[in-house]
């Protein structure tokens, strides 16, 4: 039997951050990860490349790191993260985006890490809506999204009271929904505010080296502060006594701690816990990602955006695809269009479609492979339409499905943004058991890290101050 001050389930971004905070102040903490590598939904994998006989490594989640700041900027989510984990800005090697765009039938809105670009675009393309847009911006600016006591409010309802042009409402919502909403077609207004600030006010960058740069920074810090991390460590039960969480069963071994922080999702956590009488909904939003590698970089005159939020339907449908996958909308990432835009070497494009977990689950192996090929063809066609004049050859492609996500992250139904039942203060009906990460309600890599930090602070560090 082993006794800890805190047990963290899951070595994703939130679990790693929570572990750092707790160990930094001399808590005895262990992080238990079912997979053989860290990262959770923002991890990496490798594929052998038969053409060249080498091995290629791919990021799983990361198209973009939101919440970009310049060095020295203060009071922003990313600067809070740096201070709380005592990491240096330079270690992240952030490469900012050129610009991204929201592309709907007949109209495009560009945005960048300078908010003025989006303001100018709205001014130019929706001139009758400028005052309404400015009013929304003011509402977002003054909203306290960190108030954990605010209840659900529909973003669509809020937006429609301000902005008359429905197309502008759809276009503004599109990136925010697909980069983080667990809800179909809508999102909680507090989440909308977090996402609006993260994407439009602050913007995108990518660490040089991708998600592994972030993971290795966090792993190194964990080592420095003396936290224990176990891989291939599957928690099979959260042990309770007299209605309180007191530990976990992992690979047949019992570990005890007065605080258990679970990052594996709210419904997933409930399923491991006896004596818990709630049933958080499993979210429905899951995705398919296709990755294409070309034998040369896509020239900027063919495509100069970093991310394209594409929609070709009259209405933007953010909901599970009705027929396996939905190719009327997509998020297309051109990672070579982050600074410094080196034009040497291979070119990469990543493209995400919304999917339907239940349909994919019914496919047998042959039908699954055939359906994946169909996705790949469809994705490649769309990608090619976005880079006119590009004559490179496809070297390699890889596609991952909702089944892949479920298999490697154990998130039920391959959900990426978790449950629609969030617990914003992290509390569950079981004292001692807390939710961190996506189902606590902060989103993206920066959001997940801040979730781990703030929940570790609140439930792991401050509890002694209470006594």
């Amino acid at each position: 039997m082993s006794q800890y001050d805190a047990i963290v389930i899951g070595a994703g971004m939130s679990g790693l951050a929570a572990g750092i905070r707790l160990a930094m102040f001399d808590k005895k903490v262990v992080i238990l990860e079912k997979h053989s590598i860290p990262g959770g939904l923002n991890s990496y994998y490798q594929r052998r490349n038969f053409d060249k006989g080498g091995i290629r490594q791919f990021d799983v989640g990361l198209h973009a790191l939101t919440n970009f700041i310049k060095k020295g900027e203060k009071g922003k989510p990313f600067s809070k993260l740096l201070k709380q984990l005592r990491l240096s800005y330079d270690d992240f090697k952030l490469c900012p985006q050129t610009h991204s765009k929201i592309s709907f039938p007949g109209v495009e809105l560009k945005f960048s890490n300078d908010f003025e670009l989006l303001q100018n675009e709205v001014h130019e393309k929706f001139s009758s809506q400028v005052d309404a847009f400015n009013e929304l911006v003011e509402k977002v600016r003054s909203f306290n999204e960190l108030d954990l006591s605010i209840g659900y409010q529909s973003s669509r309802d809020v937006l429609k009271t301000l902005i008359a042009d429905e197309l502008l409402v759809e276009m503004l919502l599109c990136p925010l929904l697909i980069y983080g909403s667990a809800w179909e077609d809508d999102m909680d207004f507090a989440q909308f505010v977090i996402m609006f600030k993260s994407l439009y006010f602050e913007g995108f960058s990518r660490p040089e080296g991708g998600v592994r740069t972030i993971i290795s920074l966090l792993m190194k810090k964990l080592d420095e502060v003396g936290a224990e991390v176990r891989f291939k460590a599957a928690v099979t039960e959260i042990i309770t006594k007299d209605g309180k969480a007191i530990g976990v069963n992992v690979n047949g071994e019992e570990l005890y701690a007065p605080v258990v922080l679970s990052s594996i999702g709210y419904p997933e956590t409930v399923r491991l816990t006896k004596e818990i009488n709630i049933d958080p909904q499993v979210g429905k939003m899951t995705f398919l990602e296709s990755i294409f590698i070309f034998d040369k970089k896509i020239p900027l005159q063919s495509q100069d955006s970093t991310i394209v939020f594409y929609n070709n339907a009259p209405e933007y449908a953010y909901r599970p695809a009705t027929n396996y996958f939905d190719s009327t909308s997509a998020v297309v990432c051109f990672p070579d269009n982050y600074e410094p835009q080196n034009r040497e070497g291979e070119g990469t494009v990543r493209i995400t479609f919304m999917a339907n977990y239940h349909q994919w689950r019914e496919l047998d192996r042959a039908a699954y492979d055939a359906k994946k090929d169909e996705v790949g063809d469809c994705a490649l066609k769309l990608v090619k339409s976005m880079m006119p004049g590009f004559d490179g050859n496809l070297l390699f492609k890889d596609i991952f499905s909702p089944m892949t996500i479920e298999r490697y992250t154990w998130h039920l139904n391959g959900t990426v943004y978790g449950s629609t039942d969030k617990t914003r203060d992290g509390r569950t009906p079981v004292p001692g058991l807390f939710i961190i990460g996506t189902d606590q309600g902060f989103l993206g890599i920066v959001g997940s890290i801040l979730s781990g930090i703030s929940m570790a602070n609140l439930h792991g560090l401050m509890r002694e101050g209470d006594s």
Binding site: M24, F25, S79, Q84, S454, M462, G465, D466
Partner: protein
């Protein structure tokens, strides 16, 4: 321990948790939050560092007593005695 020692202990902690802040020209009677980019998370770190480095406990209801350098010195000095 003198008041100057206690003041220095607090400044050392602030310099470590917020390395970009200039703590050399602070007005001791004015709120630290107004002069530096410190939020509630940073104040938690000040409290945690006081415990870790000096075994000094600051209960949560006393956090407001760390508002200025003067109030820090007044509140913490008896704890260092």
């Amino acid at each position: 321990m003198t008041a100057a020692n206690v003041r220095q202990i607090v400044l050392d902690i602030i310099s470590d948790i917020a390395p970009d802040e200039d703590v050399t020209s602070l007005d001791d009677s004015k709120s630290l939050r107004e002069q530096l980019d410190l939020d509630s998370m940073d104040f938690l770190d000040i409290v945690m560092e006081l415990r870790k480095r000096h075994k000094v406990e600051v209960p949560q209801e006393d956090y407001p007593k760390l508002a200025t350098l003067d109030s820090c010195v007044a509140y913490l000095s008896p704890k260092f005695a």
